[in-house]
């Protein structure tokens, strides 16, 4: 197994764990944690391909990972703000109990 394959398999496993967390947990905060794990797994792929790719001096994968980290930070702030707003409105963060769109 080459190093690149190892990193890609770790990223795939982490993505699957994050997806499972986003799909099976009831708490909205845990769903956001799962999404963060999925974003991080994608970042690991970018960095691994940058490191073992033919042109690391072009910095493409590295730049994509850095911008992805910045966008993920914005996503986390807005997502957790939404969770807090919904909690204030419905007094719950249980996604199974949020079954209506009317306020």
């Amino acid at each position: 197994m080459t190093p690149l394959t190892g990193y890609l398999l770790v990223a795939a496993l982490l993505f699957a764990i994050g997806l499972a967390g986003a799909l099976v947990r009831r708490n909205a905060i845990l769903v956001l944690i799962g999404i963060e794990l999925m974003l991080n797994a994608a970042n690991l792929n970018f960095i691994a391909f940058w490191r073992y790719g033919p042109h690391p001096e072009a910095l493409t994968g590295m730049m994509f990972a850095i911008f992805s980290i910045a966008v993920a930070a914005a996503e986390a702030a807005v997502g957790l703000g939404l969770v807090i707003a919904i909690y204030r409105h419905a007094q719950t963060t249980d996604l199974d109990k949020m079954n209506r769109m009317k306020g």
Binding site: L13, L23, R51, L59
Partner: protein
Amino acid sequence: MTPVFYIIAALTIAGGLAAVLLKNLVHAALAVTVAFGGLALLFLSLDAQFAGFAQILVYIGAVAILIVFAILLTHGSDLPEDGVFSKTWLVGLVIAAGIFAVLGWAVLSSASGLSNQTAVPAVTVHDIGIALVGRYVLPLEIVALLLTAATIGAVIVAMHEKDGAK
């Protein structure tokens, strides 16, 4: 494939699994911090020092704190009496396992065709800074705008509603 890689990978995967499986939200937030730290170590082991330290600063320094604050503000540390997993957990598990099977199959079956440069890339933080204000200056400005808008938006969304202002 060095032993260091296996240790860091095991730490990261264990942190991710614990974050998804632990019942108490505070424990899950701690576990996801371990997973973020493991990912930062993986970035460092890939000779991406800038991304590794950015990961530590942004994820452990900001996102983990945000998650803890959200748990605090939503009383998330109280355990729900009817379980932490959704009614459709089996479907979610099957989908995640299927995605992992497809990704793993794709990686393993294309392993021989993947490029494998062993030379350490001679990229310094100086090069990254020059690239950020040169070729990537437009995305950088857009990210700055996005972060400003997201911060203001998050504050407005989470701000307390005044009575009668709905």
